[in-house]
Symmetry: C2
Subunit: 132 residues, 2 copies
């Protein structure tokens, strides 16, 4: 694979449910995470669900940060995709998990890019990271 | 893992570069993909880069569809995340790859959800799919 970017998928558990249900809090955390990682923000789109939950995305020059929250479970599904070498997706992930005071986090990094004819297994360079 | 959703990461190669550089075309394809899969659209945010490339996200009730294009390489990085059982992310992925007339596609499905204390490797249930 000709790698163009890194995509971190993160299961964020044990969060403060109240924060996860506040669209302003969730948007603030995601925007600040992008800026903390040095990304350039292009678009911001968040939605509050009834009776609970928030979904939203920050589109950055380097790709995107996305979040979907289940406040009733203290859980958020986060993914951070960055292309190029200037922004480290793990900096954003670390900011987000700390901001929500997560007690258990599992994340994996997937290399994204152009197929060069290798088999599909060799194209996925996962890096597992678990903190509890 | 207590699965809440399915996240398909898709490397879309051999696309028509002209379509990938047209923000209206890219947004139309992603919105139609969401609707074709039966998703409920909540927010739409797309951005055109200079000199080339489009990034955008469709936030749906069931999570999101995202795309980042490299027209000069005929390549798009697509991901489709759906929670619940009503929307099949592969329906959206299939629509997108056909719409861009991709000649080579590699995609993998990652299960998303709450940690239940298993080790991290067992929490990722990838399904590899390659079509060329």
């Amino acid at each position: 694979m000709n790698a163009l970017g890194r995509h971190v998928l993160c299961e964020v558990n044990g969060c403060k449910g109240e924060m996860l249900d506040d669209i302003k809090d969730v948007e603030r955390v995601m925007v600040t995470a992008a800026l903390t990682a040095g990304a350039e923000i292009r678009e911001v789109a968040f939605h509050k669900f009834s009776p609970q939950g928030v979904s939203g995305v920050v589109v950055i020059s380097e790709s995107h940060l996305a979040i979907h929250t289940w406040p009733e479970l203290g859980y958020a599904a986060v993914d951070v995709f960055t292309c190029g070498d200037t922004v480290d997706p793990w900096v954003a992930v670390d900011y987000i998990t700390k901001a929500f005071e997560a007690t258990d986090v599992t994340a994996s990094e997937v290399q994204r890019g152009i197929n060069l004819g290798q088999d599909s297994e060799s194209q996925q360079d996962d890096e597992e990271k678990k903190a509890s």
